[in-house]
Amino acid sequence: MSAFLQSVERRAFKQAVYAVRDDDAALDIAQDAMLRLTERYGDRPAAELPLLFQRILQNAIRDWFRRQKVRNLWVTLFSALSPGKEDDDQDPLETLHAAGESNAEESGADQLERTQILEIIEQEIRQLPPRQREAFLLRYWEEHDVAETARVMGCSEGSVKTHCSRATHALAIALKARGITL
């Protein structure tokens, strides 16, 4: 279990960040998912853990959005009574810090270019509709097949293919518009 969690924690965090656009919230979601996995499915065979974890993670992300809806409702209701605090949108450029661990032998220009491409791709993924993003990341990044992805998302295999196709198409158009060729 420990090895599995170690192998998935960073990708889980990144998936959550793409969805919720907040590092702290994403960390909470990742921790919540890991806790749920160990508490409820700690005795399952190792082969079952990837799918189980993905389902738990996606549910945790949806739960976060539901809580945010309720929270935002109360904030809206009481916003007239107290001065509101501006919500800080996550600065996408914060992801540039990830370049800190990059290969030191790369030239500065190459490193900057790679970092910028990564940052743009992450931006575009964040902007995808939630179901398209979920299908794309599960199918291609987590490398689940169509059937497994459909099980995690709770939809048909046809829907998964449609979401993946639309996500890929949207990303291709967006990257082309930004002058990025992979």
Partner: protein, 125 residues
């Protein structure tokens, strides 16, 4: 462009995104340890087997089994202990009755008040 090919290229770039700041990496490590600790605390040697059986059953039926089955087992155990105690008392009573009836002294002697007084006097000595 081929969808799979394009997606693979995107994912190659995304794989670089899994490099996170040291602070984030440390918090993820701590979260992982908390999850593993929760699992270790939950399991006690005596409950490990029960947890293994019941833990594989999720949802409402699992919840039902986690509450109702242990309660039923507890009630059955208490009922069993009570029945055993009653049987023990009955057996002891039967044993005493058997000894009285098979004794050389006739059973009617125990109904004689003079005999009872003699027994008390003898016990007082």
């Amino acid at each position: 462009m081929n969808e799979q090919l394009f997606a693979n290229k995107i994912c190659q770039v995304l794989d670089r995104a899994t490099r996170v700041e040291p602070a984030i990496a440390e918090r993820l490590r701590a979260a992982r340890e908390r999850a593993l600790d929760a699992r270790r605390i939950e399991l006690a040697p005596g409950l490990a087997w029960a947890d293994n059986v019941l833990g594989s059953i999720g949802g409402q039926s699992g919840l039902w089994l986690r509450l109702v089955l242990p309660t039923l087992l507890l009630v059955a155990s208490v009922a069993g202990i009570y029945t055993w105690q009653q049987n023990q008392r009955l057996a002891e009573t039967e044993e005493i009755d058997a000894e009285l009836l098979t004794d050389d002294l006739p059973i009617d002697a125990y109904l004689d008040r003079g005999f009872e007084a003699w027994l008390k006097k003898r016990a007082a000595r």
